[in-house]
Symmetry: C2
Subunit: 490 residues, 2 copies
């Protein structure tokens, strides 16, 4: 049962897999590219879902559910969308299996071939806008603010748990508006919502910005993104919000009668975050000892481990633990009391360290006599002996502190790994070192492509908060209106 985590410095990629595996977050399944999300990992995803869902509803959105399958022809309707999405995807061609006549097993029934192939949704714009045509007639039907929690499939050739899997879970918002301004406002509202979620809930600092044309969503006029910096110096796109203009309304003929009685095409947005956030979470906070969880995302925030010999000692300790547990729970803190006799305290300590439980309380006979308890925090690995009385207040404030500390630590890391490049030589050196690199860019796709080919770095975004200071493109020397954010990325 000795679970071993490879050090980040030794092999970052193996470290990542070791964490996912040993903290029981997920594993590969028997189906290529598809993962199994294990209960502990899923419990974290449920916390993310609950918080996002609350935020969506508070901002007036409702949930609905649209079909898993999309007829092939739907993809052809929006010209730029087809190139972006209708390529690497799972295609359903038949609807029946049968027993082979030679008894060799079950085979596809060739008589049950679909007239038109169905695509397992890689994203749902097409099927949803095909539906919106029926739902939207008048300005009274707008805005339509709908979100869907669903699984989607993109046939990725090289997959990594959470970061890039053939099937993944996500939410996709699809909204319809009467005016361009309203749709743009929605696009921005959501990217702000994502940013707040990432920073306040996941303790993961992000940069908000717009994507360059190259990196936009297929069919979007504008894509906003939140970009986080991982511990290996690579960027991770953590969520996107798209202003789709009237592209999908035109492709699916969705018009509405205005108050004035004219007919106009509807304005659209779409936006999503996925189980990819689980990968981002791991790579933002975890260390060489295992997963580190911000308290707001921990399936249980506190674990209590009894140190005892024999039934009688356990009973005495349990009595004390029960009232501690109740006191903590009355403050809304989630607690697990691990009184299993199948594992030793040392094993349990290692296990919960691996699983990133924010606070561990340990209590033995000597503690009981002294009225004390040992408090260990996962983020700093510090331990402290503390009076049992009022331990709930101590734990409560410690949880707040851990949440804050993780965020600050990640901000510090990002600061230390963000640089400005003033020449292309400097740019290449900095990109090679890893981290975020701000640099002037002439605004052309040609330059962007060349830089990508040269250095593997992409423009992560045109940051919203960067001042419009003119300069010269780090590559071409041409005029540039502002710096943009480059990095190698997941």
């Amino acid at each position: 049962m000795s679970k071993k985590i490879t050090a980040r410095s030794e092999d970052y990629s193996t470290w990542y897999n070791d964490i996912i595996q040993n903290a029981d977050l997920a594993e590969n399944s028997g189906v290529r590219g598809c993962m199994v999300i294990k209960p502990y990992g899923y419990a974290i995803w449920e916390k993310m879902q609950a918080e996002l869902d609350k935020k969506f509803k508070q901002t007036g959105h409702v949930n609905a559910y649209f079909p898993l399958f999309i007829p092939k022809s739907y993809f052809s309707k929006e010209a730029s969308h087809v190139d972006g999405f209708a390529k690497e995807c799972a295609v359903v061609t038949h609807y029946r299996l049968k027993n082979a006549e030679d008894g060799s097993g079950i085979i596809v029934d060739e008589d049950a071939k679909l007239e038109e192939e169905l695509i397992v949704r890689p994203t749902s714009e097409t099927i949803i806008w095909d539906t919106y045509r029926k739902w939207i007639q008048s300005y009274r039907d707008l805005p339509l603010l709908i979100n869907q929690w669903a699984n989607v499939v993109r046939w990725e050739m090289r997959t990594r748990l959470f970061l890039r899997t053939a099937e993944f879970l996500w939410q996709e918002g699809h909204t319809a508006h009467a005016t361009k301004d309203e749709a743009l406002e929605e696009t921005e509202k959501i990217i702000n919502l994502y940013s707040n979620f990432a920073e306040d809930f996941m303790a993961m600092p992000v940069i908000i910005g717009a994507k360059s044309e190259n990196e936009r969503f297929a069919g979007a006029l504008e894509t906003y993104t939140i970009e986080a910096l991982m511990q290996d110096g690579k960027a991770l796109q953590a969520g996107t919000s798209h202003f789709l203009g009237q592209n999908f309304a035109k492709a699916f003929d969705v018009k509405f009668a205005t108050k004035q009685g004219t007919q106009e095409y509807v304005w659209a947005t779409s936006w999503g975050v996925s189980t990819r956030l689980m990968g981002a979470l791991v790579m933002t906070h975890s260390d060489d000892k295992g997963l580190v969880l911000p308290p707001k995302l921990a399936p249980f925030q506190v674990v209590i481990v009894p140190i005892y010999k024999g039934e009688e000692q356990l009973e005495r300790i349990t009595q004390s633990v029960i009232s501690i547990k109740e006191a903590l729970e009355s403050k809304g803190i989630s607690v697990k009391f691990d009184n299993r006799d199948t594992h030793k305290p040392g094993w349990k300590f290692a296990e919960y360290e691996l699983k990133g439980v924010p606070i561990r309380l340990a209590i033995g006979m000597r503690d009981l006599d002294n009225g004390t308890i040992e408090i260990a925090r996962r983020d700093t690995l510090e331990k402290e002996t503390f009076p049992i009385a009022n331990v709930e207040d101590k734990v409560d404030s410690l949880l707040t502190e851990i949440q804050k500390n993780l965020f600050n630590r990640a901000v510090d890391f990002r600061k230390a790994n963000t640089h400005i490049a003033n020449s292309y030589e400097e740019f290449k050196t900095l990109i090679n070192k890893g981290g975020f690199v701000y640099a002037h860019w002439d605004g052309t796709s040609k330059t962007e492509d060349t830089i990508k080919k040269d250095t593997k770095a992409t423009i992560r975004c045109i940051p919203r908060d960067t001042k419009n200071t003119e300069g010269n493109c780090v590559y071409s020397g041409d005029k540039s209106e502002r710096m943009v954010l480059f990095a190698k990325a997941y």
Copy 2:
């Protein structure tokens, strides 16, 4: 905007579709057999999910997520399962599309053919037990109590919204146990949980029982079911819980080391309820005026409609409504204040009647002067004028009463439509009339099949609560140990 509901007496099936459509619950999509669950319908499903999820967690279950796709060969591993499930299902054969060379659109890329076809899960026993093999080594790993919320696909030829759709949403529990008794206990615990949920939450009375061998889940040694009676006299299977014995453990080689050190196969259960419950809900309570919702399932339990002319009146009424709304919400009651100026009060009354909102409050200028408010309940359609002061207490107790009344009404309906058949002639007459029919059965599949062919009635279950009173089979005259429950069914 005149939405018309066909009367049940006129055409029950059209009545059902009218309710689904006009109450905005769901609609057919552009994909054959796949439905779109609209926001109002989805909000009801979310209420069901939340309550069930809470109950599962309270009984020690955790959620996880397994792949959407199952390799074809997995189905062949459990002999009886293959016949039951690996037939009418969606088969993925390719993983890429491409642009046709002649520019005619996108086509399937024949170079991207999968070596082994993937089946879109119709149920997940096989992929889950393939995973459990890795998770279960020792008695310490048991019991494993896992639930999954997911979409599944069964290629039904004749589909009906919610009742039978190609894709549907459900939860599927899959548990693993060290002993047969423990697995049997779990199977029963869950069917009781489902029964409580149906009766207490959905206000839908159900009969608990075991399925006959013919009607069991493919691969199960015992299937427990809850059976509800719809208003057209047909039965609806509302949830099932299966004792799978060691079948799947043997098929997927899942053994564990006992405390004594021997190797044994694991015992299994699986259980599920689906969006079919939405159909059951509609057909249990609704009437010719529209949907009727039990308060515990209503997306909003109270709607407040202002009766006014002009801005000034609306403002005065709104002031009063705000405090009423707050008073109701402080009691945990969900309230919608419909102050839209785009629709008249009469239209709103009809709309919320259609949508089954349990209580409607209406308030106009005269009410304001008299300190009164009109309260209308959806179940009985009764109206009453009531003092505004303490309206929250009145509404609170009324919601409890409505919940209870709907349950009692359904129980009364079931009583009036449940009969005992003492001869086959009587049996046929009763079955033709519709409703539940109790009759003695000789226990053979042959008799069961003949009765089904003759009358279209099936054995819904061998009810748990029927006394073991011996008698003679209503068909064959052979000895029978107890009466079983027959009905035509959805």
